[in-house]
């Protein structure tokens, strides 16, 4: 009989090595599938993917910026996930933050000096993101409302609110888009640091990663939310106010999502559309989970997924394939990684062997 038992904690290095191995294996499988589905040479396809991500300094910077933005959303979701609060509303919270930032840029763009405007945008966007996450958190804390479904629905409410304002703020009228906001004055645009327009976002997110690592591992808050995640009744017993921890953590989670929204609007896109979050709210769930909610490892996992995305874009243009091919590859790789977790958490024991070894012991 086959029998499954839980492992004691596997050393992190070993677990990471297994995951890295499976990613390489999954990439090989993807190569075979690529060859079968399209008749292309898989090695050439991977060459193109690397070319697409690292081909020129500009491409590297764009990749870094994309990694930073995805990492920012993943960091935002992490405290909630550690608390076992499934915040699938990242998409909506990013959009809420982006919307607030765009609103400030449009309404206050010519009324405030740039530094003050940026400060107002910062406050407004984190407040909007926090509000969007606090609503489901409040109901979870108060009535134990299912947060997975609630946060999911909040995404679409945010999308429709943005769709409404995109039409209200249409520029030029009838185009159906807002266009680049404050193109002439550049009011509310994030400043260019170090002569590179991608640099600031990367630096900000790097700082945020460190801050989140410290918050989760070395602060009282981080400890409390881990206890609530493991067992709410234990948390209550030791005097942690579970309701407050849930709402507080989600406000933090939503605020960072809102900040990501501001980075998107003020730092890279300079416009607002309903698809500005581009599925990051969902991709970030996978990024955070792949890294086992460890901010340092998340750098790697968000890099992997963004690399797949930008590489697939390059394949699409080079071979005339469809952009969606990257989604298929990402899906396959994720399936492999998800499946591997089992072998890291559990051990398969063949009980025949066990009996034999018991007998041996008996003989001795």
């Amino acid at each position: 009989m086959i029998h499954v038992v839980k492992r004691k904690d596997m050393p992190l290095v070993q677990a990471l090595a297994i995951r890295f191995g499976i990613i390489v294996f999954a990439l090989v499988v993807c190569g075979v599938i690529t060859a079968l589905a399209t008749g292309l040479n898989p090695i050439a396809v991977y060459g193109t993917m690397i070319q697409g991500s690292f081909g020129s300094p500009r491409k590297v910077w764009i990749l870094l910026q994309q990694v930073a933005l995805l990492l920012c959303v993943s960091l935002a979701l992490t405290p909630a996930f550690r608390m076992k609060f499934w915040n699938l509303g990242g998409e909506g919270q990013v959009l809420a933050g982006g919307f607030a930032a765009a609103a400030c840029m449009i309404c206050l763009g010519d009324k405030l000096p740039n530094a003050a405007l940026l400060a107002v945008m910062f406050v407004a966007s984190i407040a909007a993101g926090a509000l969007w996450a606090a609503i489901p958190a409040f109901f979870k804390a108060k009535f134990n409302t299912n947060e997975t479904l609630f946060t999911l629905m909040m995404n679409y409410v945010a999308i429709q609110i943005v769709a409404y304002f995109v039409i209200v703020w249409e520029n030029p009228k009838g185009s159906g888009t807002i266009g680049i906001i404050n193109q002439k004055s550049e009011a509310g645009w994030l400043p260019v640091v170090g002569g590179n327009k991608y640099m600031l976002i990367v630096i900000l997110v790097a700082l945020l990663t460190i801050a989140m690592y410290v918050y989760l591992n070395y602060s009282k808050h981080g400890y409390e939310l881990a206890v609530v995640g493991e067992s709410p009744s234990t948390a209550r017993y030791v005097g942690i106010k579970v309701d407050r921890v849930i709402v507080r953590t989600l406000i933090l989670s939503g605020a960072i999502c809102g900040f990501a929204g501001m980075l998107l609007v003020a730092g890279s896109a300079h416009t607002l559309t309903t698809s500005i979050a581009a599925g990051r709210g969902f991709t970030a769930v996978m990024v955070a989970w792949l890294a086992k909610f460890n901010p340092a490892v998340m750098v790697g996992s968000s890099f992997l997924l963004e690399f797949m995305g930008s590489g697939a874009g390059e394949i699409a243009t080079t071979y005339g394939l469809n952009q969606s091919f990257g989604d298929i590859l990402a899906g396959i790789i994720l399936f492999f990684i998800i499946g591997t977790e089992f072998f890291i958490t559990y051990r398969i024991v063949f009980s025949k062997k066990q009996k034999a070894s018991e007998k041996e012991q008996g003989n001795v």
Binding site: L88, F143, F150, N322, S324, D327, L334, F335, I338, G339
Partner: protein, 332 residues
């Protein structure tokens, strides 16, 4: 007013049927304790598999009018069922056998399924080399859209009740069947037990793994049919990438709205279908922006229902107790 209803209801119904398929499938799945967030992906896969099947069948004939009607329906149907079954098996293998996290697996399935649909859709479009980015399967679609010959002569009655293709009635039959199965049979009782408390069900001698596999795969097949209905019937056999939109998520919203009851999902899906297109019927004049706010309605209504059911705390209106949790016999 009456004329408005006669024109509005059929449109709400055709919008609602894909949601009904997705919702029934997800209810059956969730009753086994599996929260399958891959349903949007599964519906894409169901749609594209049907399209691929009928595309090659139509193109193997010199003239689409030579098509054998039985094969013309069976081929896409079987392809759709196989495709969605495969998705269901992937999900089950990962979450039930390997006990992976259901949310992550589901989201990965959605990424994968939507990607698969758009990739093969795009490839077929390239194969045809048409100028418009879509594939048109008119002959197959006509088979799926065939209505009773005397339906047209029955006036408003025919329009409201008989103007749909056969898959619409299949959707309603499946929903009624699922309702009876869950509430009136031993199998349904055991399935609900698995979703509520797998440890107790296990102790009572129910095979947890088998119930979860069968329920989730059946759920995926039902949801996949929704994708097929959307392409073949609603969209007149025209596949365009991303045309299906976020209907899969709306189907998941509908599960909450119906408080996990397939019987309720029949009127509820038509209501959601109506809410989805309500903005087309409301005279807002030149103010296009307000229409966008009307599109929010289905989601807001879902949130309100979710909150009300959780505050009422009525036991029969709650999500299955172990929804989203993997079951491991040796965990305490």
């Amino acid at each position: 007013m009456f004329e408005f209803l006669v024109s509005f209801i059929p449109r709400a119904v055709v919008q609602g049927i894909p949601l009904l398929f997705g919702c029934t499938g997800e209810i059956v799945t969730e009753k086994s304790g599996n929260l399958n967030l891959g349903i949007p992906g599964v519906m894409y896969v169901g749609g594209i598999c049907g399209v691929i099947g009928s595309f090659f069948y139509e193109n193997s004939l010199s003239d689409p009018s030579l098509m054998n009607p039985a094969l013309g329906i069976l081929i896409p149907l079987v392809c759709c069922i196989l495709g969605s079954l495969l998705m269901g098996l992937i999900y089950c293998f990962l979450t039930v056998t390997l006990r992976a996290n259901q949310n992550v697996t589901g989201l990965a399935m959605t990424t994968f399924g939507v990607g698969l649909g758009n990739f093969f859709g795009g490839s077929l479009i390239k194969l045809v080399g048409s100028e418009i980015p879509s594939i048109s399967l008119t002959a197959t679609s006509n088979l799926f859209r065939a209505t009773l010959p005397f339906a047209e002569s029955l006036g408003w009655f025919g329009q409201i009740f008989l103007s749909y293709g056969f898959l619409a009635y299949v959707a309603i039959i499946i929903a009624v069947g699922a309702s009876l199965l869950l509430n009136r049979t031993r199998v349904g009782l055991q399935l609900r037990a698995v979703g509520e408390n797998p440890a107790t069900a296990d102790a009572a001698g129910i095979n947890i793994t088998r119930y979860k596999y069968v329920a989730t795969c059946a759920g995926c097949i039902i949801a996949g049919l929704g994708g097929l209905y959307f392409v073949m019937d609603y969209a007149n056999g025209i596949w365009a990438n991303d045309a299906f939109g976020d209907r899969g998520w709306l189907a998941i919203a509908l599960v909450i709205f119906t408080v996990w009851r397939p019987g309720v999902s029949i009127p509820a899906s038509i209501l959601f279908g109506g809410l989805y297109i309500l903005h087309l019927f409301i005279p807002t004049g030149t103010d296009l922006a307000v229409k966008e706010l009307y599109k929010m309605l289905p989601y807001v209504v879902t949130i309100v229902v979710l909150v009300i059911t959780s505050t009422r705390n009525k036991r029969e209106n709650q999500p299955p107790e172990s929804l989203g949790l993997p079951y491991f016999r040796e965990n305490r």
